[in-house]
Symmetry: C2
Subunit: 213 residues, 2 copies
């Protein structure tokens, strides 16, 4: 996602500190919920575990439940900005590949807390409903951004192709994370991720040798 | 999916009656749950609405909750059989396209009850958890069947490519149903479905004109 970074510059210290605080709060929330159940984890406990005040918590999350979702709306915003700003000659799937890969640099470090989140959701289905709703909203916004990049007129409904790009890219990202989780540390995440998108852009023709590494 | 039908013959009257009873029970369950909430709908009420005895209900569903899921394990079995039995020269995505299209002939009629199901799940998150679990299990079995078709050795882990085929096909099917729901009755479902798979096999290159019909 260099075109975004070169335009806006590297995020400032203030921005990076805010980001780190939000991640720390989410991770604390998920770790506590994995142990005690989300319903039994207070804002005070989460804030204390992350070393901030409960008042600070509400600078980052609108509600108690939001802390467990680990859905960062700013990621979606950066992806959509990449779709707006990337040079027109770069194919849309290539823009998405590079923009998502830039966001997933810490997938290795976050892998454990994502697994915990899955357990928390299993135990507290109302969080799963919220999480799914947020993911579906993200996918719709992504489809809209793809449609905009391809030049849909304002007010047009989002067509089949932009929707498909959004849903297929989302499925591909999930699959590459799952596949990599089983193969780590034998392969780098970026390698699996690039192979996944190469399958998409090559028309999903089977690899020459069964891909069962 | 002719290769399956020609092998096994058209389903017999007995088989079709069983299928119709199962569909009637599921539809009755979802309609009642949309009105009263799944927790408040008894097996007796579902059975009565479908014109069968509660004992018959348990010939079709292992538990009360299963009736609301509308996930037919036999569909997955037929898809996987198509992957085993289709001639080797047919590309795997083409096998999946034709096999799923044969299953989705009644998508138009079932559209309304699927929307009701979404509302029921929203209201009863524990059903959503069960439904998601069942869908994820179906996707894993589909990936295994793709790996088998491509000749993975027994005991091999399922590789990236078969997983990707399963997750991308699932996303594509969902997207084609959503897109068609917005455009019906202007287009046939089969047309949208075939266009979706054509995007997948052509490497997801953007259509010449923005696809916003």
């Amino acid at each position: 996602m260099q075109y975004v970074k070169s335009k806006d510059g590297v995020p400032g210290l203030r921005e990076r500190k805010k980001q780190a605080t939000k991640v720390a709060l989410s991770e604390a929330a998920v770790r506590l919920a994995a142990e005690h159940g989300a319903e039994n984890v207070t804002v005070e406990a989460i804030s204390s575990a992350a070393g901030v005040s409960p008042r600070t918590f509400f600078n980052y999350f609108e509600s108690h439940d939001d802390a467990f979702l680990m859905i960062d709306a700013e990621v979606g915003q950066r992806i959509r900005r990449a779709l707006r700003e990337a040079p027109a000659e770069i194919p849309v799937l290539e823009v998405l590949r590079d923009a998502f890969l830039a966001e997933l640099t810490d997938v290795a470090e976050r892998h454990e807390v994502w697994s915990l989140r899955a357990k928390v959701f299993q135990r507290s289905p109302y969080l799963l409903v919220r999480g799914l709703g947020a993911h579906m909203a993200e996918e719709r916004e992504l489809a809209q951004a793809v449609a905009d990049r391809l030049g849909s007129a304002a007010g047009d409904r989002v067509g089949l192709y932009p929707r498909l790009v959004a849903s297929v890219a989302t499925a591909a990202i999930r699959t590459s994370i799952e596949d990599w989780c089983e193969r780590t540390p034998d392969v780098e995440f970026a390698e699996v991720f690039r192979a996944t998108f190469a399958h998409l852009t090559s028309g999903m023709t089977p690899p020459d040798t069964p891909d069962t590494r």
